[in-house]
Subunit: 167 residues, 2 copies
């Protein structure tokens, strides 16, 4: 059984989703979204993302972290802001001793919906269906759960092909 | 007397420069460049930037951090990478209890050379002259010293106008 935390980073809202998998079954552990007041100074926002994720990791004890690898952004300024939030999330992972894996949006959608060009709503509905979540879910938390699912599914198929590979 | 650490962040090389100022005189304390092997995985690079800056801050005890505020990058991909390295450096500051200040390239060049469109070499030569540094200096470390100088000069002129203002 492996427990993974998936992260959907953003400077205003960072989603997280924790999932357990044994190679055949997946179990939802927790999900949420850290919403940070845009009134705060940027360094303080990074401190909150880092600190809250450190606490969530400490409370839930995942063994690895999966983060979406971003290649696109509206513009250079928003890419810089997203990069800083992403850096804070990744640091919370590596400084907690987790191995951090990166997956493209294409890989994540293919792993969750089976179709690389699926829309955001399709991913969210599939995540709710997969885990039998009745209530609506924060879109950032759904995306974070999707990255964790992608990691666990990719990992289990990788393990079938390459037995003995780490984590 | 205020001691500031200036940072020139980058995913391959992050420059730092520590300067002390009392409102009229500036004193060079230390400078250097953290060069990170491009062969390392990106999360490990962030861990090194964060960890080494935490140690440098702990050893030199600056009271505040100044970082260049970046608005431009070659493309979205390099902006994301730069943002992550910048996020790691800023986090090392806020997690060490430092207030982090941001200055534009224009402000930095104006503060150091007196001319907002000065070239990189002019900034480097002015930094060497200002501190009487005989040996050549790493360009990233020179840029980091320039941000620290900008903060201390801006701060002292601000203090003259607004006595009683913090840090």
């Amino acid at each position: 059984m492996i427990r993974a935390i998936g992260i959907d980073p953003g400077s205003r809202c960072t989603g997280y989703g924790i999932v357990e998998g044994d190679g055949t079954h997946l179990r939802h552990v927790a999900n949420g979204a850290l919403r940070i007041s845009p009134g705060l100074l940027f360094p303080d926002r990074l401190k909150i993302i880092y600190g809250q994720l450190m606490t969530i990791i400490d409370d839930n004890r995942p063994e690895c972290m999966a983060v979406e690898d971003v290649f696109f952004a509206k513009n250079v300024k928003s890419a810089l802001r997203l990069g800083q939030a992403r850096g804070a999330a990744i640091l919370a992972g590596v400084n907690s001793g987790l191995v951090v894996y990166e997956y493209s949006a294409l890989q994540i959608k293919q792993a969750v919906v089976g179709y690389g060009k699926a829309g955001k709503n399709q991913v969210m509905e599939m995540i709710r269906y997969l885990f039998g979540l009745r209530d609506s879910i924060d879109p950032n938390a759904a995306d974070a759960l999707a990255v964790a699912v992608c990691h666990l599914n990719t990992r289990s198929s990788r393990l079938r092909w390459e037995p003995g590979q780490r984590s």
